[in-house]
């Protein structure tokens, strides 16, 4: 992970923390905002290194909002590995692919995190509705980011300014 990505990642972590603040709707904490980074790594990176970044993101999320540090690293690295493999067989890089990858990442992170917490006896509970909500919201979030990438706003901005200058 390049140093220039650290700040945005930290921002998504902070945002994820803020989504769980009291007063916000219950579903507000369902989308996994940092999932966009592992989706981006899978869809935009040409290399397929071991997902250390995802591991660090998961550990950071554990530090931010979980009682123990560790299961998040497992869940996020597992999701990143799965997305890397999926990216090798899916050629689509459109916003829909971003949404699908995001939904997959959300579901995987939730499921694997639950599995990793199970042996610790922390009383974690999981329902299909929760998994579905997380997958849908995370997919929507990642699809939105993918749409932004697809729109290529900087290019449009440069085109617009060039037209005005003429």
């Amino acid at each position: 992970m390049h140093a220039r990505w650290i700040l945005p990642v930290l921002l998504t972590l902070a945002a994820q923390r803020l989504l769980g603040l009291p007063g916000l709707p219950a579903w507000a904490a369902d989308p996994l905002l940092p999932a966009v980074w592992i989706v981006a790594a899978a869809l935009r990176s040409r290399e397929r290194p071991w997902p250390l970044a995802a591991l660090l993101i998961g550990l950071a999320l554990d530090i931010v909002q979980e009682p123990v540090v560790g299961p998040g690293g497992i869940a996020w690295s597992a999701a990143a590995l799965a997305l890397n493999g999926l990216a090798g067989v899916v050629a689509d890089r459109s916003a829909k692919a971003w949404a699908g990858f995001g939904a997959t990442a959300g579901a995987l992170v939730t499921l694997v995190h639950h599995l990793a917490v199970l042996p610790l006896g922390l009383g974690s509970s999981l329902s299909a509705a929760q998994v579905l909500r997380t997958a849908v919201f995370t997919g929507a979030w990642c699809g939105l980011v993918g749409l932004v990438f697809a729109l290529d706003l900087p290019q449009r901005w440069r085109t617009l300014r060039a037209r005005r200058l003429r």
């Binding site: 397929r48 071991w50 591991l55 550990l59 009682p67 123990v68 540090v69 560790g70 299961p71 690293g73 497992i74 690295s77 597992a78 590995l81 890397n84 493999g85 990216a87 090798g88 067989v89 990793a116 917490v117 042996p119 610790l120 006896g121 922390l122």
Partner: protein
């Protein structure tokens, strides 16, 4: 599908295991110790269980081996004891048979008197024609004292020493006894032949049949008269003036157990 190398999988699993262990280290159990310690205990419990069971098994095997050794020794002793009991049983059976024979002898023999001495046969060599008998007490039996049994004449004493007495059977090569038929018409001399008998000096014209039991006549001055001595089994005429007669002892010398020694009998005393 991206080819996943084995090292990547192993590395991933290792990292996940480390993370799970780290998470378990942070979680505390009810007694305040880290959860990972309880996991370790749970992991080690089967090992300690197996070790404990192994120790118990080794102890059981050791005890079993010791017990087995004791059982083997005890079994060997029991076998020896059993063999001794069997031998004793044989001896007792033999003694019992001898007692029965002695009772028959006392009942049937007219020669059984206060002076007669019962003796137990302890060794006999039928081809050689000798027998060793033993009395209950030390007694000196005179040489040539007759020895009889319920079946008939056995032989005579040739040596006496304490409780042991040696007999010369009537089948001995040098033995001879004067005999006659029950009606006293035919007389002869029974000669020993190393297991068989022959009857000599019976005239050709004598009326004698096979299976005739010859009784001692007392003419030899050694054996008392009237004792069954030999049973004729073969009669043959030859060119000689006497018949060639084969006989077997009237007494069963092979199975005789008890004999009666008659040291006080003499021709004159009767």
């Amino acid at each position: 599908m991206v080819a996943v190398s084995r090292s990547l999988v192993l590395r991933t699993l290792l990292v996940w295991a480390a993370l799970e262990t780290a998470a378990a280290w942070q979680v505390r159990t009810a007694d305040g110790s880290p959860l990972v310690l309880s996991w370790l205990r749970a992991l080690l419990e089967p090992v300690s269980w197996v070790a404990g069971r192994g120790g118990e098994l080794a102890g059981d095997v050791g005890r079993g081996a010791g017990d087995l050794r004791r059982v083997v020794v005890e079994n060997r002793l029991l076998r020896l004891e059993l063999e001794a009991l069997r031998a004793r049983d044989l001896l007792l059976s033999e003694d019992l048979a001898a007692q029965r024979e002695l009772r028959l002898l006392a009942r049937d023999s007219a020669l059984f008197s206060a002076t007669a001495i019962a003796a137990r046969c302890i060794f006999r060599d039928l081809p050689a024609g000798t027998m060793e008998v033993r009395t209950a007490t030390e007694v000196q039996v005179r040489r040539d004292a007759p020895a009889v049994t319920s079946g008939g004449l056995v032989g005579r004493v040739v040596r006496s020493e304490g409780r042991r007495h040696w007999l010369q059977l009537i089948t001995h090569q040098a033995a001879a006894a004067a005999v006659q038929t029950p009606d006293a018409e035919v007389q002869g001399l029974v000669l020993g032949g190393g297991g068989t008998l022959s009857v000599a000096y019976v005239p050709r014209q004598a009326r004698l049949e096979r299976e005739t039991v010859l009784l001692s006549s007392g003419g030899d001055g050694i054996f008392p008269p009237g004792i069954p001595t030999a049973r004729v089994v073969r009669i043959r005429e030859t060119s000689e003036p006497f018949l060639e007669i084969g006989a077997v002892p009237a007494a069963d010398l092979q199975s005789v157990r008890v004999v009666l020694l008659l040291p006080e009998w003499s021709r004159r005393g009767g």
